[in-house]
């Protein structure tokens, strides 16, 4: 029996879809069977981020309405053994699926997959409610900005109210240089404010744009910092105590934080 994890944030554009694709690919690289579900109905993106946009036949709404079997809608990613995508519908809207239907689809998926990862739409309305309906765990993505952290706080409250306790935090687009200059909130600042456990930190990295342009993931890129950060997150999800990587290279700013994660 697999595990259903929703990736959410409240605010749009903070990196949910990027995180879903890369964490999913990272888990597949470790040999696990992974299903990615694009719950952003009407604004589907996960397919293009993964470079699978030309292979869609059926989608989530077709499955929910019984127009096809679940198996028929799943797209197998040929680059990663074990990675599959259930795409969102592009022409419908968020009310096309009901929370009960999402729950049922997640139940079916986790019978076959080790990890079911749901890419949540922005906002806290129907699309959010659908996306979290079948989830057992939640990852909240934020960037080190006031608006994103504020929305993350709101979402954490809603997740806890929905019995998705102890969501884990991913801080995306951190710029170590700005942190050093005192112009960006630190990892510690954000954790202290949100009072949640940290799952990982992704640095701002042009390589993400480059790989996304090609429909590739950055986890495949052995040299990129963000790729390493995503691989580390995948390993932490698998229960390995991976220390926070040294975003500064010359270090010391992050050494104290190692403890937080290293002890997990």
């Amino acid at each position: 029996m697999g595990e259903v994890i929703v990736i959410t944030s409240g605010k749009g554009g903070v990196g949910k879809t990027t995180a879903t694709a890369n964490i999913g690919a990272g888990l597949a690289l470790r040999g696990y069977k992974v299903a990615l579900v694009d719950a952003d109905i009407g604004l589907r993106n996960l397919d293009v981020v993964l470079g699978l946009e030309n292979r869609i036949v059926y989608d989530l709404v077709d499955v929910a309405h019984g127009h096809c079997r679940l198996k028929q809608a799943l797209i197998k990613d040929k680059r990663f053994e074990g990675l599959h995508l259930l795409p969102a519908a592009q022409t419908k809207d968020k009310t096309a699926v009901k929370p009960e239907q999402m729950k049922e689809i997640c139940l079916q998926l986790k019978e076959e997959f080790d990890y079911v990862i749901i890419d949540c739409p922005a906002g806290i309305e129907q699309g959010f409610k659908n996306a979290i309906a079948g989830a057992e765990k939640a990852i909240v993505v934020t960037t080190p900005e006031v608006s994103a952290v504020r929305d993350a706080d709101r979402v954490i409250g809603l997740l806890e109210a929905a019995e998705l306790k102890e969501p884990k935090l991913v801080i995306n687009r951190l710029r170590p240089k700005m942190v050093r200059q005192g112009d960006m909130m630190t990892i510690e600042d954000i954790i202290e404010i949100l009072a949640v456990d940290l799952l990982g930190v992704i640095p701002e990295d042009e390589q993400i744009i480059v790989t996304t342009n090609r429909g590739d993931t950055v986890v495949q890129d052995q040299r990129s910092r963000s790729g390493e950060a995503f691989r580390n997150i995948a390993r932490r999800i698998l229960g390995e105590p991976v220390p926070l990587m040294d975003l500064e290279r010359d270090g010391n700013l992050f050494t104290r934080l190692r403890k937080i994660i290293g002890l997990r």
Binding site: E145, V146, V149, R150, D153, R154, G157, V179, Q181, G182, D183, M184, M185, T186, D189, I193
Partner: protein, 93 residues
Amino acid sequence: MLDFIVRFFQRHSLGSKEVAKERLRLVLVHDRANVSPELLELLKNDLVQVISKYIEIDERGLEVTLDSSEEMVALVASIPVRRVKRAVKVASV
């Protein structure tokens, strides 16, 4: 060296992240207070219990609110006192 120290501190005092943190702290106090009137209700019940050990109060007249100005948020409690208990030397726990 002195020059370096001065610049170091200047840079830090000018850093925008402290401003961000402070604004975030305030906005979250407001957000969280709005989201959870239940929390104030729980706090009220606990306050009644603690205060009643020392002072007899009118529970129904008790008011607890979060009062906010731009600069800060204060927890304001208005507690009508009925009677102060006599000679409480050691608080019983």
